[in-house]
Every structure is written in structure tokens, then in C-alpha cells.
Symmetry: C3
């Protein structure tokens, strides 16, 4: 998320951290490593990812070990970077629960129909000619386009499923992102689309989701995709345009699915898929190969039957 330009010294005071490097920087945003820009503050708490953070576009890195600082950056040394990051998000975007069914700060476009029992949080923006069916819930800061349909009992913008493991508990990452649903998207009944951690979960224009679909935090789905019922897509994954996903498919976090891909029903996708491929199976692979495997196992049964 963007913040008002803030001296890095002030940030250091908030989280009680020591500054190393360029102490005169101005911070203009708070973001997770996978969507950082210049001016942003980011955190890293595992040596495995130190270099990725230090070489990212981020201007300020909260880190749990003093290390060499690139010329243009500042480091904030803190024992618990994850906790410090949460503290900053709360500081710059304090939670304000709206306990009215439609927040006074929500903006709703022309010719848009909001059915009864819908909840619309703070700062939500909804375009024109859109229909929100009964009992759907839209959390704070989400943006819904024009000519969108969201069927009943959907949850748009709940928290990311993102926790840091401590010995006796899990610490949840505070989320300040949102969900953006572009024009002409249809969302089936009882779907859930989680908000981005610091940026947006996006459903591209003209994409259609069937019922019970789950889309994790920060996932970006392209335009003109069809996604059938009970499919679950984990966080921080990107999906191209014109992708067809059949029912009960599972897709792991952090992977990339190209354009014009087809994923057959009940597949479990754990790797990137390039443009135009058709995938099947759990674990999924190119459909032709997987169909050969199905055939081969049938042959094997016959062979064993002969032998025994």
C-alpha cells in the first residue's frame, strides 16, 4: 500500500529499530517482497531470503541481522521483522470496523442493484450496472467494476491465510491489500476471494467463476477465463488470459499459469504451465502423458493377472 512520504527515521522510531545505511530516505509504501517498488519498505527474517530482499526494488528493508547495506537503501535492524511489519501496517492503516450493513464510505454506481442482507465495508467502490445478490459480504477497500454479477453468500476480501510459525502459536500477517474485480466478471454463489496482503487480488475482465471457488491472497487471474465449481487457487499465483479450469482443481501458491491453458477436472497443479498446454492429474502433468499413464496402469493390471 502507498503511504504519505515518511522519513525512514520516523519509521525506525515507530518500530524501535536501529538504522543502517541511508538515513535520509523517504518511505512511500509498505509492500510484500513479491510486489515491492522503489520507495517501499519490505521485511525479511530468514537468511535464505536476505539477498532477494536486499537486491529488490525496496528502499528500506526490515531485517533481523546487521548486514552490508546497498548504497541506495536503508536497513532497519529488528529482532522480529514480521512483527515490526505488522506494527507498521496497523500504524498506517488502523482497522476501523464498520458495523452498518453498508458503510457510509462505500461508493455505489448507477443502475447497480444491492440485494438485502449484503454487507459492504469501508471505502468499497462498486461500479455501474452491477448486481450483488443477497447475503454476500464485501470487506473494506475492495473495488468492484461495471456489469459485474456476484451471486449469493460470497465472501470478497477476507484475510489472507498467511501465518508465521512461532514455537507455541501462529502470528497472522496483517493485511492491508484488497480485491479488485474487473468489468463483466461473474462470481458464482458461495465463492471466497481473499484480499491481497499489501496489494490486490485481481479477477480480470470477463472472467466467470462457478460456485464454491476459492481464490487466495494476491493471486492475479487474467481476462476471459472460465473456472468451474469447487476449484481452489492458493495465494500469489498468476493465471493468464483465456484459461479454462474445470471442477475441483487445486493450484499451488506462487506459480504461473500461461495464456490459453486448459486444466482438467480434479487436477492438482504444483508447477508452472506454459501457454496453450492442457494439464491433468494429481500431481498434474501434460494431459497426453497422464492419459498414457492411465492406459499403462490398465495394461499392467492385465499383465499381473496373467502372471499370478
Amino acid at each position: 500500500m502507498d503511504i504519505q512520504p515518511t522519513p525512514v527515521q520516523l519509521i525506525a522510531n515507530i518500530i524501535q529499530a536501529k538504522i543502517v545505511g541511508n538515513a535520509s530516505l523517504l518511505v512511500t509504501g509498505i509492500n510484500e517482497i513479491h510486489c515491492v517498488r522503489e520507495g517501499d519498505i519490505v521485511f525479511v527474517d530468514h537468511p535464505k531470503y536476505y539477498q532477494k530482499a536486499l537486491q529488490s526494488k525496496a528502499s528500506v528493508v526490515i531485517i533481523n541481522q546487521e548486514t552490508e547495506c546497498p548504497d541506495t537503501k536503508a536497513l532497519l535492524i529488528h529482532d522480529q521483522p514480521f512483527t515490526a511489519f505488522n506494527q507498521l501496517i496497523r500504524h498506517f492503516q488502523p482497522i476501523r470496523y464498520s458495523l452498518t450493513t453498508i458503510s457510509p464510505s462505500a461508493q455505489i454506481g448507477k443502475h447497480t442493484i444491492i440485494f438485502p442482507n449484503v454487507y459492504i465495508g469501508n471505502n468499497v467502490i462498486i461500479g455501474d450496472h452491477t448486481i450483488i445478490y443477497p447475503n454476500t459480504v464485501i470487506y473494506d477497500n475492495c473495488v468492484i467494476g461495471n456489469h459485474v454479477k456476484i451471486h449469493a453468500n460470497c465472501t470478497i476480501g477476507a484475510d489472507a491465510f498467511y501465518y508465521k510459525k512461532h514455537p507455541d502459536s501462529f502470528e497472522q500477517l496483517e493485511t492491508c491489500g484488497n480485491v479488485c474485480i474487473e468489468d463483466y466478471v461473474h462470481i458464482g454463489a458461495n465463492c471466497t476471494i481473499d484480499k491481497g496482503v499489501t496489494s490486490s487480488t485481481i479477477i480480470g475482465a470477463h472472467t466467470k467463476l462457478d460456485n464454491h471457488v476459492h481464490v487466495g491472497h494476491d493471486t492475479k487471474i487474467g481476462k476471459r477465463c472460465l473456472i468451474a465449481a469447487h476449484t481452489g487457487i492458493a495465494g500469489a499465483t498468476t493465471i493468464g488470459d483465456y484459461v479454462t479450469i474445470w471442477g475441483q482443481v487445486g493450484i499451488s501458491s506462487g506459480i504461473h499459469i500461461g495464456n490459453n491453458v486448459t486444466i482438467l477436472a480434479q487436477s492438482g497443479v504444483g508447477e508452472n504451465i506454459s501457454d496453450g498446454q492442457t494439464y491433468f492429474g494429481s500431481p498434474a502433468g501434460p494431459a497426453k502423458e497422464k492419459m498414457r499413464e492411465v492406459f499403462a496402469v490398465k495394461q499392467l493390471v492385465k499383465l499381473i493377472h496373467k502372471l499370478y
Copy 2:
């Protein structure tokens, strides 16, 4: 759906089509190809399905190519049969959104309990001794029997997931059907049952659904079935009586499952199943064969272990 008897010439005027064949026919219904009766109007837009439509019971066929017309029928020639069909549905059943939580046109039987935050649309009929738990949503025109239980957060009667692909967008088929839930049915929490396109999605008497079950448009489920959690059944499928379906099963569209069938958990059914069979696997087959395959693969691992 049924309509008042309407001269085919009037239909032709509404959608701006040319009539070929018997121009004096009266149209009495609008239906999809899989549920047409005499007197109905149907559409077809792909040469592959022309003969099926022309030989169906439909009296009038909207078609995108002039072709020989059977004696008893009329053809309506139109560039975009799908769009023309949508236009007719909207003409004969214009959408009227009810923005009250319980529509004044809904009929609710005796000794029936409607919990708070339930939404009941226009012309819904609910029988006697039925319980609708909180926050469930019932769309227009659905029919619910006697002694039915529908648990919380269900969505009954949302749109069919049925789209025609255009180069840059998807056109949704307008739906004028409904959902019929027969007597003594129980529906678990957070289920979704989509309405039929032009006829009914049916859940037969005494059938029990667990939580998170999805039933697609125009699917007919028989009597006394048990369907466990997270099962998804696509559109236009028929399922017999006394069928047991375990958890997380997926069933494709347009297939037929017989009576007394058992489908084991996580199966993916893509073909018809005859009476009395037990199926398993993804893709599913007779359970005995699939168990032999599971065994064979274990033997194969041992064999490969010896060879390498």
C-alpha cells in the same frame, strides 16, 4: 418454461427472424434441447447439432442456416440463435428483482420456520413443516416441499454456469428455470443448487445432502440418495434412486448414473454408470478394477526397486 400460446409469426417479429416451414404454428413453451416437448421453441447454432434439433419434439427451431424443414415444424432463421433465445426468455419472463428479504409473492406453508436473514425471492413456494435456517438465499420461482430442512448459508436457484464463447467475451444464457426440492429432503450448510435453464433442477424426496455440495443446472437427483460433503455435480446430469455418493466426488455434465449406485470418495465420474455399480478413482471406473490398479502399482514399485 411454458408460455401463453403465441403465433410463431409473433415470435419471428420479436427476434427479427425469417420463417421457413409451417408459419401457422402456435408456440407454447421455450426450452433447451435436452427437455423440449411438442409446442416448444428451441435453438441450435452449430451444424453438429442441427439434426438433433430438427428431429427433436420441438415445433420451432431457431437456427443460423437455412435448411430443409420437417413438415410439422417451423424454422426461424437468425444469425445469433443463442442471443435470440435469450431475447425471447427476457421477453416472456422479464426479471423483477425483489429487494425485500421475503418477497410478498412468496407462499409459505403451515408450521414452517423461516429463520432470520433468510432471503426468499418472487413466487417461491415453500410447503409445510419445513425449516429454512439463517442466512440461506432462495432465488425466484423455486419450489420447496414439505418436511424439508435447508441449513444455513445455502444458495438455492442461482444462475446456471452456462456461457457461449465469443471472441472477446462470454454471453450468459438467460435462465428461466427453477429448483424443485421434494418432501423430506435435507440440505446441509453452505450448499449451492443452481436453477434449471428452462426447466427444473430437482432433488428427489428423502434425499440428504451434506455440507458444501454443489448441484448444477437441470440436474435431476433421484429419491433416497445420500451425498457427502464437497461433492460437485455438474449440469444436466441425472442420478437414480438410492444412490450413495461419498465426499469430494466430482460428476461431469450430461451423464446418467443409475439406481443403487455407490461412488467412493474423491472419485471423478466422466461416464454413465449402470444400476448397482460401485465406482472409484479419478478418472473413475468400477471400484474392483481401480483397486486392482492401486495394487498393481504397488507391485510395480517393488519390481522397479529390484531392477535398479
Copy 3:
């Protein structure tokens, strides 16, 4: 559930049963076979389970055949033990539907936030510093701890999916149990957790559930578990502490998962898993073995390709 101490003779009168054995006993609870204690009444209706019931801690057994009675027990002879058991549950815990959105008998702690359109049933107890997001439904008698988050559109405490098959119908077991959600638990959006039949379904402290998770009746989930989206856990299963379950996993009823277990995505678990194991596949087995099977099938395809 516990009941006021009640002479067994009075119980016999309520259900019109004949007493065999110790007729002077006091009944202090009504429970299912898997959670009976001394003083309880239990039922059994199949000879296969007679010994289990007779040797259980239950003091009184409703049974459909006269048999030898252990010294310290009483038998209640009844043609339909299941129906008689239901009759007792309704006698001692008659249903009282609350048709207000928040029942006057619910207790809600300090600093707890209840969003709009939430339904809270009779006798529900909610702790301090807890957040219940919009449109979630909590059925009667559930107990929610401190520092809990339950996201939107969840259903907590719906009926167990538990039916007795009769030739032409299913008889539902009346449920008088509840759901207990311990401190610091997070429940994602659109989850369902069914109530116990006579005792509690439990989600242990610090456990976090993603969206669309289903937990069946009487299942006990330990502390500090992570359970990803679309996972379904059937009834009367126990899961240890520090268990990680990835997306779209299915777990059968009545089994035991140890501590520190990991279950990979889309697995179908039908057997007990001991501490520390990693499981995969459908049907699931130790992940290393299943990965060898995946590899072996790929080798087999190559071999068949050479042969043909």
C-alpha cells in the same frame, strides 16, 4: 449430554421399554457409544455392536433383543433403539428455535465484535476479544473462546450428517451436542463445523482454518494445526497437535491422525496416521512410497512405449 439424575424406570416409561437388570439405577447422561461415561444411557441396534455397547462404560443400554445383562447395568428392550434414543434427546432437550438474530440467552464477552447479519442461537457463549464477521451463523449451545476470528458466511453447529437407513427413508439422529472453538482459533470464510451428536466437535487452541473447510460432527482437532482450503474432515475423527493439512484433502470418519503429521494436497485419508508421518495420494499412503509410485508409473509408460 448431561441430564438431571433420572431413575431408569422413568426412562423406560418415556420410551415404553421393558427393563432387564438393575432397575434401581440413576441415569445422568445420554451419549453416543464413542463418548459414553458411567451413568450414561446409550443405544445399540445391530448384533455386531451388542458386545461393544454391553461392555462400554454406559450404565443403561437401549437394545432391540433381550440378552444377558452385566450386573451393574440395566437394559431397555425396545424394537427401535435409534428412534427411542431420539425420543429421549427430544424429551430432555426440546428444540426452542430462536428467531431473533442474536438470542437473548447468548453471552458475549468484552471487546468482542459481532458484525451485522450474524445469527447467534440460544445459549451460545462467546469469549473476549473475538471477532465474528458478517453473515456467519452460530447454532444453539456452541462455545467460542477468546481472541477467536470467524470470517464471513461460516456455519457453526449445523446438524450432524448421521442417518439410519429404513427401507423407504432415512431417519436423522437428533443431535444435542455442540461445537467448541478454543482460544486464538481462526476460521476462514464459508467454513462449516457441524455440532457433535451428544458431545462436542472441538477445534483446539491456536489452530487456523482456511476457507471452505468442513469439519464433521464429534471430530476433535488438536492445537496449533493449519488446515488449508476446501479440506473436508468427516465425523468422529481425532487429529493431534501441530498437524498441517494442505488444500482439498479428504479425511474419513472415525480415524485417528497423530501429532506433527503433514497431509499433502488432495490426499484422501482412510486409515490412521501415526505421529510425524507425511501422507499423500488418494487413497493416501506415506508420501515417499506414493512418490515412488508416481515415478514407477512414468517408467512404465516409457517401457510400454518401447514394447509397442
